[in-house]
Symmetry: C2
Subunit: 233 residues, 2 copies
């Protein structure tokens, strides 16, 4: 088993305020693994036997309704924890996590969660802070779904992804993983048809550039105006 170096994680948000020895303790009990694109890391409703840290790649977290509709709860970027059901007082995962690209992750048995939280107060505090941030995010989304119409919701979703994973290219800011029309629809509570229509309209106006599972935001500023509603339609 190859040794995991603490510089891998020392700078990541969940581990701020921890000293070197503690990091090593945590790493000593971690298992690293590769996850192939489109493979699930854990499944909704399954027993939460482990929690994870995304080291590299992008993961989408999906909830499926009883009648089969999908909603993308969020995308996870490197350095974030996932599957922390225990921190939410659950024993099963509330959603399914799927690798959007090939990923590298660390995993720990769920059993260790409470140990870590108790032994390393910073780690616990960081995690709870992250949960708090997610709660606010979820609320923001409820507001958005309640008060804004589709085009603005889609614009907001794209801007958030760009902010999270935007990669500078000649054309603008490219969202750094495969993202289909259906994915965008699942994020914003609409249909792939409507997203497709919006994208072509925006492409004509020069706001974005997009192809098969690929989106580049050309004029983030104008897209923001549209999202915020100063829109000139």
């Amino acid at each position: 088993m190859s040794r995991l170096d603490r510089t891998l994680i020392a700078d990541l948000a969940p581990f701020q305020g921890m000293d070197a020895a503690d990091l090593d303790t945590m790493l000593g009990q971690a298992r690293s693994m590769r996850v192939v694109k489109e493979t699930s890391i854990f499944e909704q409703e399954a027993e939460a036997h482990a929690f994870f840290l995304l080291l590299d790649g992008h993961v989408r977290v999906v909830k499926t309704t009883p009648d089969g509709q999908q909603v993308i709860v969020r995308y996870i970027s490197p350095g974030e924890l996932l599957g922390i059901a225990r921190a939410l007082g659950r024993t099963t995962y509330p959603a399914t996590a799927v690798a959007a690209v090939d990923c590298v992750i660390l995993s720990w048995p769920s059993r260790l969660w409470s140990e870590f939280a108790a032994a390393f107060p910073s780690f616990g505090a960081n995690t709870y802070k992250a949960v708090g941030a997610r709660l606010q995010d979820a609320h923001a989304r409820v507001i958005e779904m309640s008060t804004e119409q589709v085009d603005r919701r889609v614009a907001h979703a794209l801007l958030k992804l760009v902010q999270q994973t935007g990669k500078k290219t000649d054309d603008g800011l490219l969202i750094d993983f495969p993202l289909s029309r259906q994915d965008i629809a699942d994020m914003t509570g609409t249909t792939l048809h409507t997203v497709s229509r919006l994208m072509t309209a925006w492409e004509e106006r020069g706001l974005v550039k997009s192809g098969r599972q690929k989106v580049t935001v050309v004029q983030p500023h104008k897209l923001l105006l549209l999202a915020e509603g100063q829109a000139d339609k």
Copy 2:
């Protein structure tokens, strides 16, 4: 200053697992107060100088968008904490809390939050568990807003309120505080007009009975069927 008896709070969820002495310590630093109906307990964006416990009454938590639209995030029942911005890593309140009826609350200075969480591990754990529950609730709402149409959302909202505060009457289960059509609309992301139409339709079918700021669910079971979509329209 009148003494607060520990039996006031000993059985409430946030204080489970705490011993008598700790409860007294907390109560010793609490301030109790009455809040008149339709008065706000704290305001969105204001400095979070205190956190609260609702002892009696009902409180609605409201978010207002920049352009003035309101969304009711949730209703709080006796025994629940509110204004725990600090537990979410915030220094300002993320929403406004308004007494739906005359209320009795306890308050503590925010400064004490971290002290309590550290000194009384059960209290901290209980609170974080509550935050986790709220996160799941918020996610459930995002799913609902994304995938369900208005009538089901309204049905769900009513059922949730009934479950939370339902009071048995001759007609059925009465929601135990003034609840206007506009309030229901603000909870479900629709308009008071649409809610009004739904309510009259449901009243004709004998599912509910409602008057001015008053809603009684007559046949919860049938309303649930409608909410879940086995609906016979």
